[in-house]
């Protein structure tokens, strides 16, 4: 955010590529309050998800511009931060002169936002953002997920580091094929994917199964991992809710899927119609149900995790961050205790398995700190 004459605008964020506008669900802060970086200021709803817009900078909330219930485009002015010495007249003038920047070429932009790589005969979708220089941060989603799970995290991390997020094989919009059903086969596949796009070394951020693949990757290719962040990760303990895995694999309709997906969140009202629709679209693709059944059976059959590679890592060799939602109903937050000695550990209250969505601001702050180590 650029401050002009001591004025910092707070604008409608863009959560994910498809977001065009958001509805102001409610203000959380009154005018005259002092904010620190990351303070949740206003709740915004989109057809995909609801979340809080956080203060981009520390400052004094001088003026709320957006009204509750209003539908506003991405980058519309929501509020103004300024110190007391800035006059009301200057703030009025700033608001009057503010123009919503045009959306960045929309569809053309969307086409360029995703890229495709062919790895071992499997077409993989991925996104690459942020600066050119530096070790990229690789985001790897969990079982049945896709790169959209990092909706609230990619752009925040891309402000300071190059980021890459992929749809694992058999997931999202990548081909509905698996290179194998073991963590080792998936780790090898990601290594080949990175070879294909010319990336040698990464900071790995993995959610759930994506964390276990990361731990396995770090054991197989220690020289290729600069750091590892495990978010509600598999691979740290034997327990996992088998009912979730089976329910997710089996659910064929919105009615069957909704209660299963609600298990992922501390606040089940976050499960929107659009979220379920997108998951059903994925699950209906020929071969996906069978593939998820095989993968879920191999890694998490009978409600037990078959391999625990993360327990064998040494934090002395590798900077490690372990983040959990305290109310995780899929993999218990108690597994955070099994983190290797020396790892940074944070268990966030009020969040479930999708902690990086439910507590995006806090997770992003933890990631920034971890990556700066």
């Amino acid at each position: 955010m650029n401050a002009q004459g001591g004025i910092t605008p707070l604008v409608m964020p863009k959560w994910g590529l498809e977001m065009r506008e958001g509805t102001i669900a409610g203000w959380l802060i009154d005018e005259g309050a002092r904010l620190s970086v990351g303070t949740p200021v206003v709740d915004v709803e989109t057809d995909k998800i609801s979340n809080s817009v956080e203060a981009p900078d520390a400052g004094l909330l001088r003026r709320k511009v957006a009204k509750e219930g209003e539908v506003l485009p991405v980058k519309a002015l929501l509020a103004v931060l300024a110190e007391p010495e800035v006059s009301d007249a200057d703030i009025d003038a700033f608001i009057a002169a503010y123009e919503v920047p045009a959306a960045e070429g929309d569809e053309a932009d969307e086409g360029a936002a995703f890229q495709w790589a062919e790895v071992n005969g499997i077409r993989v979708r991925y996104a690459r953002r942020g600066p050119e220089a530096g070790v990229p941060v690789l985001f790897v989603h969990g079982f049945g997920g896709d790169l959209g799970n990092w909706l609230f995290n990619l752009d925040a991390v891309a402000e300071s580091a190059p980021v890459i997020a992929l749809d694992l094989p058999g997931h999202g919009q990548s081909d509905a094929k698996l290179p194998g059903t073991s963590l080792a086969a998936l780790a090898d596949f990601v290594a080949q994917f990175l070879d294909g796009i010319g990336v040698e070394r990464v900071h790995w951020v993995g959610h759930s199964m994506g964390g276990a693949i990361g731990a396995q990757f770090a054991r197989q290719y220690p020289q290729r991992v600069a750091s590892l962040a495990l978010v509600a990760s598999a691979g740290l303990g034997p327990e996992i809710d088998g009912g979730y895995i089976d329910g997710f694999v089996r659910a064929a309709s919105r009615r069957e899927l909704k209660p299963v997906v609600e298990m992922l969140f501390a606040d089940p009202s976050l499960v929107s119609r659009q979220l379920l629709d997108d998951l059903l679209r994925y699950k209906r693709i020929d071969g996906v149900t069978e593939l998820l059944g095989a993968l879920g059976g191999a890694l998490f059959g009978g409600g037990r995790q078959a391999a625990l590679p993360a327990t064998q890592l040494l934090a002395a060799d590798l900077p490690l961050l372990v983040v959990w939602g305290a109310d995780d109903r899929v993999i218990p937050a108690a597994h955070a205790k099994a983190a290797p000695a020396g790892a940074a550990v944070a268990v966030l209250p009020g969040a479930g398995h999708m902690v990086m969505m439910e507590k995006a601001g806090e997770v992003n702050a933890l990631l920034r700190k971890h990556l700066a180590r």
């Binding site: 509905a176 119609r273 679209r281 209906r284 693709i285 020929d286």
Partner: protein, 338 residues
């Protein structure tokens, strides 16, 4: 990978991919190849509106141009289905099904029942339906209720390219006779469709807009009119839930009832003529099983009980409009008074 294609392209892609996947899938119909061997564009025209264009070049003689005798080739398709093929018969306009009702109603629909559940008839009969195309009374009807009335037939009428591809693939894989009706005024309508094959199960309605103020239940082209009405009503502070039935037989009453229990108001919209329509059916089922949830009278918006007019002004008046739907929602919410 998903990209934006039209409903017409979605039909073509579903047929192409299923023919490539399963050698028992064949097609027959009038002009579906469309004069192979013509000059340039004229070569293998691909049906009246070009829906099957390009399929003959890929799948050759698995597509058959038939004589102008619907009763003959619909019968042939049903017979081929009994013998292990998965035929997709195209009938141009649903209006022409009148000459093959015996094959459809008395033969295909009855085989499984009359042969002890052992006979499968995996035939799909595709046809264009609906008005607004300036095609007059014999080429514009919305005859979904006729087929929905017959046990043993499955009836599909999609509203988007995504649903069209997934439901047509499901229709081809289904082991029962399916009447697949394509609204001709939606052929150019575009939407995101995955390149991969996928099937949408029958009997699963889609809630295309959520709201607590009233439930609008409909299908086909009327889904878009209902969404327009819902957008207009939202500006007045009434949030409507719009349910797209997608398949009329089987019908997903659970989703309808769940919605009516939430909103307390029901408006059924149907492009068909009003008597014994899908709107009547849904209204009656809701009144019978969820009367206590209703806070006002059920409203229906349908075409009038007349043939589809040829005069463009009259035809535009004939097809239910967003304004009529919005007015019906207001009537439902004010106890039936205007």
């Amino acid at each position: 990978m998903a990209r934006k294609i039209s409903m017409k392209q979605a039909i073509n892609e579903a047929l192409d991919q299923e023919m490539a996947r399963d050698p028992s899938v064949i097609m027959m119909g009038e002009d579906i190849v469309g004069g192979a061997g013509g000059e340039g564009e004229r070569d293998a025209w691909g049906g009246v509106l070009g829906v099957t264009k390009g399929l003959y070049a890929k799948h050759g003689d698995r597509l058959m141009d038939t004589p102008l005798s619907e009763s003959a080739y619909i019968g042939a398709a049903i017979g081929a289905a009994c013998c292990g093929m998965r035929p997709v018969a195209e009938l141009m306009f649903v209006d022409f099904m009148g000459v093959c009702f015996d094959q459809i109603f008395n033969q295909a629909a009855k085989f499984k029942y009359m042969f002890g559940g052992k006979a499968e008839t995996p035939v799909v009969i595709r046809a264009m339906c609906g008005g607004g195309f300036r095609a007059a009374a014999q080429h514009s009807q919305m005859l979904t209720p006729l087929f929905t009335h017959i046990p043993g037939l499955k009836v599909v009428c999609p509203s988007t390219p995504y649903d069209t591809k997934g439901l047509l693939i499901q229709s081809i894989r289904d082991n029962d006779p399916v009447i697949f009706l394509e609204h001709k005024n939606l052929y150019g309508f575009e939407g995101e469709v995955p390149e991969a094959l996928y099937a949408i199960p029958f009997g699963e309605a889609n809630v295309v807009r959520e709201g607590k103020g009233a439930t609008i239940v409909t299908y086909g082209l009327m889904v878009h009119r209902a969404l327009d009405a819902a957008a207009a009503l939202a500006k007045e502070g009434v949030e409507c839930e719009v349910v797209d039935l997608r398949t009329l037989s089987p019908i997903d009453m659970d989703t309808v009832l769940e919605s009516v229990e939430k909103t307390g108001h029901l408006v059924c919209v149907d492009e068909a003529n009003p008597r014994c329509s899908i709107a009547c059916d849904v209204s009656a089922q809701v009144a019978q099983t969820a009367f206590g949830a209703l806070k006002g009278p059920i409203q229906m918006v349908t075409a009038p009980h007349t043939p589809v007019p040829f005069a463009p002004v009259l035809e535009d008046l004939y097809i239910p409009s967003a304004a009529q739907i919005a007015a019906a929602v207001k009537r439902a919410r004010t106890g039936g008074r205007h």
